[in-house]
Symmetry: D2
Subunit: 138 residues, 4 copies
Amino acid sequence: MLVHERAVRFEEIDAAGIVFFPRFLNYCHDAMEALFAPLDGGYVRLVTERHIGLPTVHVEADYRSPLRYGDVARIEVTIPHVGSRSFTLHYRFARAADGLPVAEVKHIVATTDLTAMRAVPIPNDVRAVLERHRAPPS
Amino acid sequence: MLVHERAVRFEEIDAAGIVFFPRFLNYCHDAMEALFAPLDGGYVRLVTERHIGLPTVHVEADYRSPLRYGDVARIEVTIPHVGSRSFTLHYRFARAADGLPVAEVKHIVATTDLTAMRAVPIPNDVRAVLERHRAPPS
Amino acid sequence: MLVHERAVRFEEIDAAGIVFFPRFLNYCHDAMEALFAPLDGGYVRLVTERHIGLPTVHVEADYRSPLRYGDVARIEVTIPHVGSRSFTLHYRFARAADGLPVAEVKHIVATTDLTAMRAVPIPNDVRAVLERHRAPPS
Amino acid sequence: MLVHERAVRFEEIDAAGIVFFPRFLNYCHDAMEALFAPLDGGYVRLVTERHIGLPTVHVEADYRSPLRYGDVARIEVTIPHVGSRSFTLHYRFARAADGLPVAEVKHIVATTDLTAMRAVPIPNDVRAVLERHRAPPS
């Protein structure tokens, strides 16, 4: 399990005064990048030099409590499933200050050759990172 | 069914060269606002004067094909379910130029008193708009 | 002079309840894209096929009055100066409902080969569009 | 002088493959928030509890070199001028890896009562923070 913390940013608030719901998926992407930091060159090199990306094929999110400016999101990431060309990430969001449950997201991505835009087998170093965090949803 | 078209914007592209996946939910919110344009004062007045918002409680998205800069998304919105304090929207995304299926999103929102942050019964005028688009997913 | 209108979007509000100040430059970019719509294939083709972009080299903005959710920005675009490899755009923002002055932006961009990231002479069709809107700041 | 480092985020790239120019101002806002971290409750409490905000009245930016995904921006913040109800921030951007000059931004903000949307004298604790970083542009 990776734990990723991120403060709500000033501009992530919507006209209803809470974090705009799509931005939770931005937070997931941040957490996913943090997960792949151990790769040589990190997620950046995977995308920009190896031209392998992780386009989303499916996402499911349950929102329990809003986040506001001033909150810090605490995100626990686990990998409940690894296939041959795709894998599943699970993110559990809580408010860092008091542990209030905020949201849960299930996220399936496909390892994809960004030039051909075609799914490819999960590279070995990516798989190794995934195995390290392999666990049912926290 | 409401049909909402929206061009991909220059800044909606990510480092992999495609529309960043969370932004599909921004597009959904745009389409939802368009759906509620017939309300007196539209979605804006609902939020800013009546202090009723539509926070998301659940979202499920399937991504089939990426969108790129230059594409126009054609989004068909239907309302498959209306409850007492929440309702479901369904969005079918296609690429406007050729009808290529792009994504499908199921989106459940709760009519919420934004001051108390508590679910409230769906107001009558909101319900009337929903009934007009009531249909199974297109 | 081109006139471009754009409603404030739900997610463009910041934690202070007004349009986040950097987003005024997003509005400028939208207006600039609208200005270049008469090009064959528009701004999209300029960037994606001809690989010519318009990176900003200088921007100056004066903010007079905030925009809020529910406002529509009315943006008047003129071209006060055209050089050999760069040109200046001027944007005057007003609130569409009542004409309240909102902001003024001066924006200098360089016609740039995006592959080499090097300034290139302004293409003839781009120059023709600019000449059509050539005028001192409105 | 405050030094603030921030990695370019995956979704900050535009269709031309570089950081979208308005986002440099987002980076400035981040750096400004970091500057005010020493306030009791930080910038968050200033805005959300004391209802004092720092709307921008003027901004000037010079862009010298683009930022790309994978770059880290190193931002040096100084305060060249403090008035009675407004002050000036100066941000010097470089690419952290090699010090390449990237941009310079001059940013004038007014201490503002967010309820009345009226400029107010700079609070003493805010002024104390500003004095600590008082210096001509770095």
